[in-house]
């Protein structure tokens, strides 16, 4: 349309549609923010869309620290970090190794192996849930944060491998060849050539993994329901299901549970996008 004649009303319509959709996407956030900021006296389901008359952080305080008869999300927040950070690092590291080997040291059957690994990214986790619970019990890791870390690390391997393999494929063969002529072995090439250029790859992978682990519910609700180790998604769901917890506290809790990934998205959006697109394979 760059060359065509611009008709003003068409242009206006275009912006109208764009703004309309923006309103649709922002609507829930509006309710979240407005409700969280209302004082308890002001919270009313039938005045959901009204702006708050006064400014109150009481809901956040309650959602974090708890109130009469319920515990706050503060320690669940910490739990989520305890799970997400180690699992992200471990799966990113494994993915980087796999990606390196599968892109630069292909062997007979390496494509088949890659396909088999990738399949693990798409399976419905329901199909491994029962044995996972049984195995973690045998290992003494059921109901613990290490158990959850293990699960997230293992089931993160396929996607991290995929992203790194595609990323390393862009590193020119000549660089690898040159290093080998200099006498570098498999590990030498990895540490001297690949790792130094891996930073963007790691950022993409880690953002992706952190977001999906933070947002995970199924593993958390199955493995770590014990309140002491519950991540924030499970605790939030329980909070929302409990009749003594006011509606604005639930909203404040939701907002806080969303915040870390939202911040990552806002400040590292470029890498976030790259992860999203990498997640869709190479078409």
């Amino acid at each position: 349309m760059t060359m065509g004649r611009r008709i003003p009303w068409q242009r206006a319509l275009l912006y109208l549609v764009l703004v309309g959709f923006a309103a649709f996407y922002l609507m829930p956030v509006y309710v979240l923010v407005v409700t969280s900021l209302k004082s308890f006296a002001e919270v009313n389901l039938y005045r959901m869309w009204d702006l708050p008359h006064s400014f109150s952080l009481e809901s956040f305080r309650k959602a974090l620290l708890g109130g009469f008869g319920f515990t706050g999300l503060a320690h669940n927040f910490v739990n989520s970090f305890y799970v997400a950070i180690p699992a992200t690092l471990a799966s990113a590291f494994l993915g980087s190794l796999n990606g390196y080997v599968l892109s630069k040291w292909r062997f007979r059957g390496s494509n088949t192996l890659f396909t088999l690994l990738l399949f693990g990214m798409f399976i419905p986790y329901q199909s491994i849930l029962i044995p996972l619970v049984q195995t973690l019990m045998k290992l003494g890791l059921y109901g613990s944060i290490p158990g959850l870390i293990l699960a997230h690390t293992v089931y993160g391997i396929p996607i991290t491998t995929l992203i790194f393999r595609n990323y390393y494929a862009t590193v020119p063969r000549e660089l690898v060849e040159a290093a080998r002529i200099d006498g570098a072995g498999v590990l030498g090439v990895y540490t001297r050539i690949m790792l130094p250029v891996s930073m963007p790859g790691f950022v993409v992978v880690m953002i992706w993994q952190f977001t999906s682990i933070w947002n995970d519910f199924l593993f958390a609700v199955t493995i770590a329901q014990n309140p002491a180790v519950q991540p924030v998604t499970v605790a939030l769901n329980n909070l929302a299901g409990s009749y003594i917890v006011e509606w604005n506290v639930q909203m404040a809790g939701s907002l806080m549970a969303a915040l870390p990934t939202l911040l990552v998205y806002i400040f590292l959006g470029r890498y976030f996008m790259r992860g999203l697109l990498a997640g869709s394979l190479k078409g």
Partner: protein, 501 residues
């Protein structure tokens, strides 16, 4: 002096009547002796030595004036202070102590109590029990392991894997009745028959409740309270405004509904966001159409699910759906209760925990009656505490169970939780400690025929409860009476086969 003795005597008598166990008495060794000799002297049986050792060691943790006893055959020096437990406690200890666990002779340690009582009056009631426990067992550190969510649904999903993994709490909450089947009690729980016998609980609990507590001929849990499921709550303001009295039967109920609907009031409110509330309602309707015996027979195979009473109950539920609030799928029972508080809805059927919730909301304009057609029948559920086989501190848990079963514990707990004691031996003064609703409830409980609630784990095994709940949930959309009855028949056949009936 005489007065002092008399007072002491009265005091002891009161303790005895209350059925309280832990207090014992101080014993000072006159000359060098052994535990076996002391046991022989006090209990007439030297085998009670371990009980004295445990009691004294527990005491010495709080009060170093008492002797610390290291081994069962240790010489007790002259002048040493021992603590001799009461006979009932000693008997219970001997019945449940495993001689392969010498660590249980030293007292102290933790008591991990698992429950889903996280909120409001329930949490207060639990705390009251903790306070009593702490008074008698100051050597034990109590760990309150509560898990919120879905009337115990979440709790049960958490506790089962822990049982299987051999990592249970010392004791946990369990609905009285067939819910226990879901925990495979023969494998994972300790039968408590001996404790019931020693504490005389079989004398003070109503027979219907005792029947309910028996599974595979054993007691697996100690009941602390009773809730009633078949209560109709109504807004007095609306009833007065339109000159209505609580309905005694379904015909009256529906004519009230007609009248109120014409006035623009929601005649009947319910919620079903939890997925079980409609099934709760249907259960109470079944009680009304089948009567106490007929309803009980549904769960034992004596009343066929093909019977006309079941059809009638489904027809009633179907008709009720014409009068309910349209947003019931989005509301939980308390959300539905808001209609009453706002005087926009007239009636609702829910268990008597509603009473506590109304009070917490500062709503006083409500009345109650039995669900239409269920006068004289008490649809009951009861919370109990059990003893897992692999409890890390079984003797501490034993003390907990005694607190739960005691009159003192039950009064402290139930006045706060808003339920009535499972024991029926309360005096008039003790009953006066409860609020008006609970007092009327106690009267009904003592007088009415008691039937087990199915949706709250009493009447049927868990898989049957699930199928029952699912059938009702489906009915809400299909309103297919014949099809739903067929599904209920099939569920019953499958469950009865699994139960070996």
């Amino acid at each position: 002096m005489r007065r002092a003795v008399a007072l002491l005597f009265v005091g002891l008598l009161v303790w005895g009547l209350v059925g309280w166990a832990q207090p014992g008495k101080e014993y000072v060794a006159a000359s060098e002796t052994t535990l076996a000799a002391v046991a022989q002297e006090v209990f007439g049986d030297s085998a009670y030595a371990p009980a004295i050792m445990r009691a004294t060691n527990a005491k010495s943790l709080a009060d170093p004036a008492y002797l610390k006893i290291r081994t069962l055959d240790m010489k007790i020096p002259a002048g040493a202070k021992l603590w001799v437990p009461e006979r009932a406690w000693a008997e219970a200890f001997m019945a449940f102590w495993d001689p392969n666990r010498p660590e249980d002779l030293f007292g102290g340690g933790k008591l991990v109590v698992g429950s889903w009582w996280t909120a409001g009056g329930e949490a207060e009631g639990l705390n009251a029990l903790f306070e009593i426990y702490d008074e008698y067992y100051p050597d034990v550190q109590i760990v309150n392991a509560t898990i919120a969510g879905g009337a115990g649904f979440v709790f049960r999903a958490v506790i089962k894997p822990r049982l299987i993994a051999g990592d249970p709490p010392d004791t946990f909450q369990l609905h009285a009745g067939l819910e226990v089947e879901g925990y495979s009690p023969e494998t994972y729980l300790t039968p408590l028959d001996k404790l019931f016998e020693i504490m005389g609980w079989t004398e003070v609990l109503p027979k219907d409740l005792l029947d309910l507590l028996l599974y595979k001929d054993h007691f697996w849990g100690v009941p602390v309270n009773i809730h009633r499921a078949n209560v109709l709550w109504y807004d007095k303001a609306i009833f007065e405004k339109y000159g209505i009295t609580p309905p005694e039967n379904w015909d009256e109920f529906f004519s009230i509904c007609e009248k109120l609907k014409a006035e623009g009031v929601v005649p009947f409110v319910m919620g079903n966001a939890g997925g079980w509330e409609a099934a709760h309602l249907f259960e109470t309707i079944l009680v009304s159409t089948l009567g106490a015996e007929g309803y009980k027979g549904l769960w034992t195979g004596e009343t066929p699910w093909t019977s006309a009473g079941v059809t009638e109950a489904l027809e009633i539920l179907k008709k009720i759906l014409d009068y309910v609030n349209p947003d019931y799928a989005a509301l939980s029972w308390d959300g539905a209760g808001e209609y009453l508080i706002a005087h926009k809805g007239a009636m609702m059927i829910m268990g008597d925990w509603t009473n506590g919730w109304f009070m917490a909301k500062g709503y006083e304009d409500y009345g109650w009656a039995p669900v239409p057609g269920t006068r004289g029948i008490f649809d009951a559920l009861s919370d109990t505490f059990c003893l897992p086989k692999r409890a890390p501190n079984p003797i501490n848990a034993l003390g907990w169970l005694m607190v739960c079963g005691s009159k003192e514990g039950q009064i402290a707990f139930n006045t706060r939780k808003g339920s009535i004691p499972a024991r029926t031996d309360l005096t008039a003064e003790e009953k006066a400690l409860f609020n008006p609703y609970l007092q009327s409830c106690m009267e009904d409980f003592a007088r009415d025929a008691i039937v087990p609630s199915v949706i709250h784990g009493a009447a049927a095994i868990e898989s049957w409860v699930t199928d029952f709940k699912d059938a009702v949930n489906l009915f809400l959309a299909t309103k297919d009476v014949a099809g739903t009855q067929r599904a209920l028949v099939e569920a019953a056949e499958a469950a009865l086969a699994q139960m070996g009936k």
